[in-house]
Subunit: 138 residues, 2 copies
Amino acid sequence: MLKISTRCRYGLLAMVELGQHDGQTPMSVQDIYQKQRIPKFYLQQLLVKLRRNGLVESVRGSKGGFVLKKDPKQIKILDIVKAVEGPVQLIFCTKKAKDRCCRRIKECLTRPVWVELHEVVNKVLSERTLHDLTQNLP
Amino acid sequence: MLKISTRCRYGLLAMVELGQHDGQTPMSVQDIYQKQRIPKFYLQQLLVKLRRNGLVESVRGSKGGFVLKKDPKQIKILDIVKAVEGPVQLIFCTKKAKDRCCRRIKECLTRPVWVELHEVVNKVLSERTLHDLTQNLP
DNA sequence: CTATATATGACTTAATTTGTCAAGTATTAA
DNA sequence: TTAATACTTGACAAATTAAGTCATATATAG
Ligand code: FES
Ligand code: FES
């Protein structure tokens, strides 16, 4: 059904929250939780993934928290999605993943739709940036 | 990760198979199985869904099977996807499904991306028809 | 030193996807 | 009429993935 996972929704909500914040002082998991009511421990996991993917920076200890590591204009939505749930891979029609497709790539008549879908999804996600969202611009 | 389910892949493969067939004599599950190696009982389930959604017709008894019910030009890929797995609903930000979104639709800054994604996916799937696939046309 | 916060990794639970099966019904052909 | 073929229905089981929790460790401000 292609539904958006909570990982994605929560991850993006957290990033938007950080983007709306002052950009100087770190925002703790608790802070984000109070704004968005995302399950705390789950949110923490997601933030760790965002950090490992270079999207946020963490400050440990008292008064610590998370800060965006880049300019929101440089953060594609696709980066965020990839960070929290791995590459956006709508199809698996490759030689390596034989079991995930019909195994007849060359003659496969269905493949083109899935490829097209894969492409438009990736296009939208990589054209939009975090900045677009926080500024309400097209 | 937004991956395409086997339901979708198998469903479309079956429809393409029926579309490639003569259009007169019914094609049995066994026939489709021999062409595509889709788990038989699973395939059967999918065909029933396709029938219930008016995309194929079934003929019972010996020499029975399935036939397309419409002109492939009138069958959108979206119809097939909807038939085998219900509506393509990338987001659930409605009043009824409060738990599936951030519950702050009006002020939600993340919603626009998901809506856009939802729209492009539905657009691609409803612009392409079964005929496009079997004819290798754009 | 203490309170606050993140780091890590294992773990549990719930939901969904994927696939199987048995018993029943309809149809054709011999 | 009978045997063989093939769809119908509904329930079920297994496998995978998503969603969420927790204990323990580490770091820092004050
Ligand atoms: S090549 Fe992937 S479904 Fe056919
Ligand atoms: S309204 Fe759906 S995520 Fe915010």
